[in-house]
């Protein structure tokens, strides 16, 4: 190697500096929000000298007793459950069908699932406002948000189910089940779904995270979901609003950590599959 010693030292120092700078950039906003939310002091007084004074959860407990809190949270949770069920009912059969019967269509379907990036939430909700006069019976209900939330979560959920299917030998499993005399329905519920458990759980968590964080559509359509409540509550009580945001953040982080653990527990098998895919491409 021709690199001089100082060059090599720089090569080692630079990544470390990048990592430290990133750690600061990503930690500070959260720490600042935590102080705003949980320190019972005037914002203007917050400083070094009172860093450890008057921490309390009073702001959160106060927000819990707001009349609309329970209502908004219940609505969002119901929407999350509905969206998760709808997603699985639609995507699991579709993805299984594509893998078994239409491998040619895989790229095409994958392309369709990134369409929500092309038509982002704000454009989608513009379309909903146009359609609304023609479908009031449907769109007036709060639950009409469910199919649109399925759309918003589609890029994440489809990919997670698709990865799950790639990791198992679906064709062999289904043929074995069918040749032992099982019906298609029984094959789906007793063979395919148990093998996809991890993918199904992680796509459900992704859906829940998307629904509990979705603000665009519910804000424009004036639906009282949890994020809308949070935004409104901050207007009257900033500390409470920040505290709710921290709780929401903790909730979603836990969901994502769970997804990480789930996908790691399977990580030995997908690697084998990707190896075999490599061979296919080489052939």
């Amino acid at each position: 190697m021709r690199q001089s010693r100082s060059q090599r030292a720089l090569g080692r120092l630079l990544p470390t500096l990048v990592l430290i700078a990133s750690a600061i950039f990503f930690a500070f906003p959260l720490l600042a929000m935590a102080r705003f939310a949980f320190q019972n002091l005037q914002v203007i007084d917050l400083g070094w000298n009172n860093l450890f004074e008057k921490w309390s959860f009073s702001s959160v407990t106060a927000s819990f007793s707001d009349d609309f809190f329970a209502e908004a949270l219940t609505l969002s949770l119901k929407l999350a459950v509905g969206t998760a069920l709808f997603t699985l009912g639609l995507l699991v059969p579709t993805a299984v069908w594509v893998h078994l019967r239409l491998p040619k269509a895989r790229v095409f379907v994958e392309f369709l699932t990134i369409l929500p990036y092309v038509i982002p939430a704000i454009a989608l909700v513009a379309g909903i406002v146009v359609v609304k006069p023609h479908a009031r019976w449907f769109l007036n209900s709060d639950y009409s948000l469910i199919p649109f939330y399925v759309v918003l979560a589609l890029p994440f959920t489809y990919r997670s189910i698709d990865t799950g299917l790639r990791a198992i030998d679906l064709k062999v499993l289904v043929e074995a089940s069918r040749s032992l005399g099982s019906t298609w329905i029984a094959t789906l519920f007793r063979v395919v779904i148990p093998n996809l458990r991890a993918a199904i759980i992680s796509s459900t968590f992704l859906t829940v995270a998307v629904v509990l964080g979705e603000y665009t559509i519910s804000d424009v359509l004036l639906k009282r979901t949890f994020p809308s409540f949070m935004a409104q509550y901050r207007q009257s009580d900033p500390r409470g609003g920040y505290a709710l945001a921290i709780l929401a953040l903790l909730g979603t982080t836990l969901l994502f950590v769970a997804i990480g653990i789930l996908s790691k527990s399977r990580s030995t098998r997908p690697q084998q599959v990707s190896r075999s895919q490599e061979n296919e491409i080489l052939v």
Binding site: P15, L19, T94, W97, A209, T216, V220, R234
Partner: protein, 314 residues
Amino acid sequence: MAIVNIPPLGEEGAVAQATAPSHFWRTPIDNIRNKKSLAWFGLVPFFLFLILFLLIPAISVFAQALHDEDGSFGFSAMREAISGQNLDAFIFSLKFSAGAAFVGVVFGGFLAYAAATAKRPRWLRNIVSSFSGVAANMGGLPLAFAFLSLLGRQGLGTKILNAFGWDLYAGDFKLGEVSGLITVYSYFNIPLMVLVTLPAIDGLKTSWREACANLGGSAWTYWRRVGLPILAPSLLGGFLLLFANSFSAYATARQLTDNSKIVPLRISFFLGGDISIGEDAVGYSLAAWMIILMGISMAAYWLLRRRAERWSNS
């Protein structure tokens, strides 16, 4: 296909039987199932769902956008959506989205490289990639609130910088202006970039670097001639993804500012406001232009990603 149904005769028939041995044993239902054209029917529910809840809304946006004031077909609203104040909004949005994407690509790329090449500690890479998974999805209200408490006028970060003699608000800094939006959006753009580029960086083989060194190339030559050209599709694709992501973000921007120079906020202003009939077509035209812009960036992203996969697969 009709030929198959004619019963084959004589020796030619025997050959036909031999080349299609299974045909004889199959039930009619199996035959139907095996026809590829019919296999597409299995996707009908999925297609119907997309048509109803994604394509019809999108098409109706265009239908409304292509209305003139008298209700006939025309491009006047589409033209108005890219002139005057609306044009300013598009330019402003393009500026901060491109800026946010650029910052995200540079810092995200470096961070991904630092995480991928760091040998110790071993958990570092896992932490970076898991955290990126969380932070890349952390748009919306909590992010806006976090930055308001850090860099708002009374923010703790603002105070710290003040103590070091840097008055953040002395210039034209505001969370709702270009510099502020770039800072805030970097919080999800950088991790997203890490997620997108980590596989590409893993695809860089040490043997390539060794080959370059053996031929007398320096580290600079390696990056100039080998590393960056291979990473280029991933980096460019990442840029487009981050650009689209920043341009269409609504929730975060909404909490930071009332600035109607941000296109998504402007659309919602037209959607919710009391505006005269005919004016609303401009709102839909803004949305239509946005869909066109996103369509172009995502199509390019899609092509670049396919190009980038060539190296990670070989």
